[in-house]
Amino acid sequence: MNKIVSFMTSYKDDSQNTKIFIYLISILALINILSIFPDLYSIYSKNGIISESLNSNFVSADKIKVSTLTENIISLTSIEYKYAFIIPFYLYIISLIMILLNYWKILFAIIVIFLHTVFLNSAYLLSYGADFMIAFLLYINLFFCIEDQIKVESYKGIIFSFAVRLMQIQLCIIYFFGGFGKVLGFDWLDGNAIWLCVNHYLDEKVINSFFAHIPKFIYQLASLHVTILELLFPIFVFLSKNIRKWTVINIIIMHIVIALVIKIYTFSIAMLLFNIIAFYPGKFSILMKYLDEKRSVIFKQKNKNNEVTT
């Protein structure tokens, strides 16, 4: 029991962290929904690019979808489809704003998780890594919101530590299975994978002018590096502080390269946030303190200047 207690409570929240993480995760989710807002009708509506019948091939009928909510809203209020359709999305945005404004954040965190899952269930073929990572981050956000609301001193920090541990475990699972899938085939081991990726996502002119001139062994090294890094991630991050640091730096570089080459920025930002919160939860508060100090120095300097001029 003592081991469980020390494992679960080893991360201390220095009061700033929880709030910062809630803000960062909520802002990421807000940016994500706003970045597709003009196309919501094309993605999720009954007249969207994917029909409900095709979507039902991938998502079981008992899972709640946007169409389920829309039908219920119409039967309750008798409003037009286009208005009923948009209500869940406005509710999602309002809930995120409420979390940011610190107003009944646990309730709104639950609403956000529910609605995000409904959106995922409604567009299976149009959802990708970023949507799933944000879904998990929103789930974690609920625990941060609970931690933020705990006022009993002896219970403070437990949920925070649990949420950080949960994120670490989830990241280990994500990277391990990412690497495991890769070692079952040939492309990642013989080095063709990165070269094929470049060809899939980039224009032929860009490939011929730059990527085709990179020596073969660079592609082979990069493919093997990614495979080993992912497969052994769960071991590397718990071996020693130094190995953890270099592993996380490597992972961060990998996600930055993914963002630049494949241009899936939301996914990369979500993964960067995920990794830093999970393994370096104290870094954000250090950054905030540094910015606060800088701000107060600038503020004092301005006051001095004003006194001199008057």
Binding site: V5, I50, Y103, F132, L166, L184, G185, F186, C197
Partner: protein, 201 residues
């Protein structure tokens, strides 16, 4: 500012001892880890269905032992996975990448002009791109592929009312592997096949 802290305080003070609380969240941690690992093991079960996947000896052994029957999966695990965002596997770009670069375009029947898919934002286009990858993955499943192509063409016909029917053009280009590239083949991608499917019904 109004908040829900009094509910949390009530639950903690009057219903749970600290150790019970720690044990409870430790249980959630273990439950989560088991569910997530199980989902990932099952997610690689598609290896069994697709004969064309090139697997190395380790992959072949895994394909033989991986379970695929999820019918006995308890509902609570299905719902937990769904709401915690962990119901899909993480083996991205695995075990191999497609040797063929497949590009899709829709053209009018009469003028053969390509019709662009009209999404307004970059993020929506990323979603469309991920759907194209899904379309590539289901290319051998004629029924699902035709249904997806039909859905997209109906969507586009609704957006472009002046067009009466259209063609779906698939351009398949084989990507040279690294060994071929360094044996002197200068062209990076060789087009070798174009299919045409009329989407009008």
């Amino acid at each position: 500012m109004m908040d829900s802290s009094f509910i949390i305080t009530f639950i903690l003070k009057f219903s749970m001892k600290k150790n019970t609380w720690i044990f409870f969240i430790f249980f959630i941690l273990i439950f989560h880890a088991i569910v997530s690992i199980t989902n990932n093991i099952y997610s690689l079960g598609y290896f069994k269905d697709i004969k064309k996947i090139a697997l190395n000896p380790v992959g072949k052994i895994y394909a033989q032992i991986v379970p695929t029957d999820t019918s006995y999966y308890p509902d609570i695990i299905m719902y937990y996975s769904n709401y915690a965002g962990i119901d899909r596997g993480y083996a991205f770009y695995s075990p191999n990448l497609n040797r063929n670069k497949i590009e899709y375009s829709f053209t009018t029947n009469s003028t053969n002009t390509p019709i662009p898919i009209s999404f307004n934002t970059k993020e929506s286009n990323v979603k469309y791109m991920s759907m194209s990858i899904n379309l590539t993955n289901m290319f051998d499943n004629r029924k699902k592929r035709n249904k997806l192509v039909k859905d997209i063409s109906i969507f586009m016909l609704n957006q472009n009312k002046e067009i009466k029917d259209m063609n779906f053009i698939v351009s398949v280009r084989r990507i040279r592997l690294l060994d071929e590239k360094y044996q002197g083949n200068k062209k990076s991608i060789n087009a070798y096949n174009i299919k045409k499917l009329n989407t009008h019904e």
